[in-house]
């Protein structure tokens, strides 16, 4: 499964060779924009707080990683009536990622640039408004934009239009795991000959209706203290906090990126995805296989990995499985593990690509961003969890792990 043997997949192109990241765009509850987010992540500054977008008093979940923006400051007015909050965040991140890469698809040949995003529930706040109009006032009050403002690939569509990206376009859904799946799919497009792909996920459309739906996952924390609401790997873990945002990555073939003199943040070196067997089947969960297959795909061994960005579910059973998996693959405390998402909440389709962005920034700066200071690792015999303060380290290779509600496991390897 190396890149060099995969020449006829996804499209009719002939490109091959390693795929690298040349640009990042980030929208996170603790920082809008790559550097603002990164400063917050290293400082351990959290974006988790009581919900203010609506009155959460009547709900069992009242804490979130909310990301509020002044849309007019960032986007042309004509886009506002037709976009959900989630899509606005995606458009902001896309613009930053392309600028960061020094690439303008408008200047590129037609069909040379494409987009793959991860989604979860779509533009849900927009959708709630239209459902409200439908049920309270009638069908003829539903917006002409509803058909696409809510739908799952809306971010791909709007980003492709704004930046004239006429190459391959797609959207994947596997909850948190989808972010890594989207990056892998875009890598395939690059290997098949598309010059530039924008990939990842930006999600989050917090409204009463989405909150109630998410609550029914049974995995959200009912805590009211923002600092104690999402404590992955802690003995007091009681679920997670939903959040908004994510990251988009610019991907190119390494040879082409070098040729145009682009700055290279790292290589997407390996990937795998697996699925958990039906609960009660007695078969082993798929997480370990996802990790091992991703390492094999990158043609490395566990010893080559310098840091792991954990899925960090914050649900005791799931934390235990992940800690045991990492201990089995890397040896007890065999590799530093971190979960900067403890400062943002879990971002649905956006969380995994934000972890990839964090990993790449960590490789760049030789530093591991910490897990929230409030976390006291209950699995200290199994994993070396970096908490409270960043840890400086020479980092060459990072593994990112993501699990999606319903049984999805994905793992991705990046290296310098």
């Amino acid at each position: 499964m190396t890149t060099s043997t995969r020449t006829v997949s996804g499209d009719a192109g002939t490109g091959s060779g390693p795929v690298v990241v040349t640009g990042l765009g980030v929208a996170a509850p603790n920082g809008l924009g790559v550097e603002e987010y990164w400063r917050a992540a290293l400082a351990g500054r959290s974006g988790i707080a009581p919900i203010t977008r609506f009155d959460p008093a009547g709900y069992s979940v009242r804490i979130a990683g909310q990301l509020d923006i002044e849309p007019k400051k960032h986007l042309p007015g004509r886009l506002l009536p037709q976009t959900d909050h989630m899509t606005r965040l995606a458009l902001i991140a896309a613009e930053e990622a392309l600028a960061d890469a020094g690439a303008d698809p408008k200047e590129m040949p037609a069909h040379a640039a494409g987009v793959v995003t991860a989604a979860s529930g779509g533009g849900f706040e927009f959708g709630q408004r239209e459902l409200e109009a439908l049920w309270s006032k009638g069908g003829n009050h539903v917006s002409a934009y509803q058909s696409f403002a809510w739908f799952y690939p809306v971010n791909t569509g709007q980003v492709s239009i704004r930046h004239d990206m006429r190459g391959p376009g797609s959207a994947l859904v596997a909850e948190q795991a989808g972010g890594l799946d989207a990056i892998s799919k875009a890598c395939r497009n690059v290997r098949a000959g598309t010059a530039l792909m924008l990939a990842g996920g930006v999600d989050g459309s917090l409204c009463p209706w989405s909150l109630v739906c998410m609550t029914k996952s049974g995995r959200l924390s009912n805590a009211t203290d923002p600092d104690r609401a999402y404590l992955p790997f802690d003995a007091a873990a009681s679920g997670h906090v939903p959040g908004e945002g994510g990251a988009l990555l610019v991907l190119e073939a390494r040879a082409a990126a070098r040729e145009r003199g682009a700055r290279i943040l790292g290589e997407i070196a390996g990937y795998a995805s697996t699925f958990d067997p039906r609960p009660g089947s007695g078969r082993e969960p798929g997480l370990r296989r996802a990790v091992e297959l991703a390492l094999a795909d990158a043609r490395i061994t566990a010893a080559d990995v310098d840091v792991v960005f954990a899925d960090a579910a914050g649900v005791p059973d799931l934390d235990r499985i992940e800690a045991a998996t990492l201990a089995a693959v890397f040896g007890p405390r065999g590799v530093p593990v971190t979960a900067p998402k403890s400062l943002t909440g879990r971002l649905l389709g956006g969380g995994a690509s934000l972890d990839v962005a964090s990993a790449l920034l960590g490789l760049r700066d030789g530093v591991i961003p910490p897990t929230a200071a409030a976390v006291h690792c209950a699995y200290a015999d199994e994993i070396d969890l970096v908490t409270g303060a960043p840890r400086e380290a020479r980092l060459g290779t990072a593994l990112i792990v993501a699990r999606g509600y319903g049984g999805f496991n994905s793992a991705l390897v990046v290296r310098r």
Binding site: G58, F148, M165, R166, V173, D297
Partner: protein, 431 residues
């Protein structure tokens, strides 16, 4: 250190269709589906799933779906949205048809499903409950059903099918609006070609005949208001066409690596020889009149299949029967297929089973596989007055017998997505 991949042969892995399952308007199961399509009968009618009286377009192609008769338990019916129910029933048929059950290694088996609208019918219905018919923005958590997160995430149906198929390889959902059903097959094929799985259960499902969907399309006048003549309302390529007719349904395939299928002596419907997608980067709903992006997707799919335009024996059109789509598509065929566009038969089965959004492209791929299998081209129903701007051979009204070596199916959707897929006959010598 030698990587696992270095032992892998450099010959690209080929992917074939070895099982087909269908839930469609006019019938459950491939047999009834094929009978409907080849007889040129239409399944479009007045909406019966809810009271559509207040809406502009009150017609749809509905499935006569009895979940109990289809083998679902009461518990499943209560928990699963109609979209999931369709997908499960179609997947069961596909798996049984393939004969692969018991011969699939769970670690090497995956599931990919497409959908445009996911569990919209349940979300629509439950919203009315928790909001007291839209009266309160702060919806009531206490009255919410426990399945809401499964309705929130369209990937929940992939979970159900993965459990059913005992698949522990790559699993997920591809959602690209009305091209979902084609893109999901392409994506699943890529995963097999890349060596990530040997068998993929892949297809698409949508059951979006609900008030919010009907209202959405009313708002942009995309659907046909020909409420007095529901049976003949979907008129692709006809001068009198005035929009698409909403549909619902599912089609699921067993896609298998060629050697894997050959070793177990599987029946092969067709090989998926090429696919590609493009964004038009133009509009979330509109199409450029030149058809350039669709043409480019067709060209890329043909290139991957190593075929020339004249190798294509049949084109399954998107043919949604909106004014702009049918013109756009005609232009795209001329641009990509050249003179052959005028010779090759092109038809739209949406004339019979309506436009089931994300599901339709998988239903169309199923029609292509069955067309190859039976050497019959399904017709375009309701095509009585050809539009002079759509001047190709659209196979009006009556099916045609013809040996099919290679067929092309295309799709166009909101978000600007344009996709193409090429299927070849197992009897055809691969390039």
């Amino acid at each position: 250190m030698p990587g696992i991949s270095e032992q892998r042969p450099r010959e690209p892995r080929r992917v074939v269709v070895t099982g087909v399952g269908v839930v469609a308007p006019g019938g459950i199961g491939t047999k009834q589906y094929w009978e409907l399509l080849t007889s040129g009968t239409t399944a479009t009618r007045t909406i019966s799933l809810f009271d559509a009286t207040p809406f502009r377009s009150r017609i749809a192609a509905e499935c006569d779906f009895d979940p109990i008769a289809a083998g679902l338990s009461r518990r499943e019916i209560r928990r699963w949205d109609r979209t999931t129910q369709f997908a499960v029933v179609a997947a069961r048929e596909a798996l049984a048809d393939s004969g692969a059950v018991g011969e699939m290694d769970p670690h090497r088996t995956g599931v990919m499903l497409g959908t445009a609208c996911g569990m919209t019918q349940s979300l629509d219905r439950e919203y009315a409950v928790v909001s007291d018919q839209g009266a309160t923005w702060l919806v009531d958590e206490e009255h919410a059903v426990p399945y809401l997160y499964d309705y929130f995430l369209p990937s929940s149906m992939a979970t159900e099918i993965a459990w059913m198929a005992e698949a522990e390889g790559p699993v997920g959902v591809v959602s690209t609006g009305c091209t979902s059903g084609l893109d999901v097959v392409g994506h699943a094929v890529d995963l097999v070609r890349d060596g990530m799985a040997d068998v993929m259960v892949a297809g698409a499902s949508d059951a979006a005949i609900s008030p919010i969907t009907v209202a959405c399309f009313d708002a942009i006048k995309a659907t046909s208001p020909r409420n007095d003549e529901p049976e003949s309302a979907s008129r692709p390529f006809d001068r009198t066409r005035n929009g698409f007719v909403l549909g619902e349904g599912a089609a699921v395939f067993v896609l298998e690596e060629y050697e894997h299928a050959r070793r177990r002596g599987a029946h092969v419907y067709a090989e998926v020889a090429g696919h590609a997608s493009r964004c038009n980067a133009y509009s979330m709903t509109g199409l450029r009149s030149d058809g350039k992006e669709m043409a480019d997707a067709i060209g890329a799919a043909l290139g991957q299949a190593r075929l020339n335009p004249h190798d294509i024996d049949y084109v399954n059109a998107h043919g949604s029967a909106t004014k702009q789509n049918d013109r756009h598509e005609t232009a795209a065929f001329k641009l990509s297929l050249g003179r052959h566009a005028y010779d090759v038969p092109v038809s739209s089965i949406k004339s019979m089973i309506g436009h089931s959004l994300g599901a339709i492209c998988s239903l169309e791929v199923a029609a292509c596989a069955l067309a190859i299998e039976h050497s019959v081209i399904p017709p375009t129903a309701n095509l009585n007055e050809p539009d002079p701007e759509c001047d190709l051979d659209f196979v009006p009204l009556v099916a045609r017998e013809r040996e099919l070596g290679a067929v092309l199916s295309v799709a166009s959707g909101f978000g600007g997505f344009q996709s193409a897929i090429v299927l070849t006959s197992p009897g055809r010598k691969a390039a």
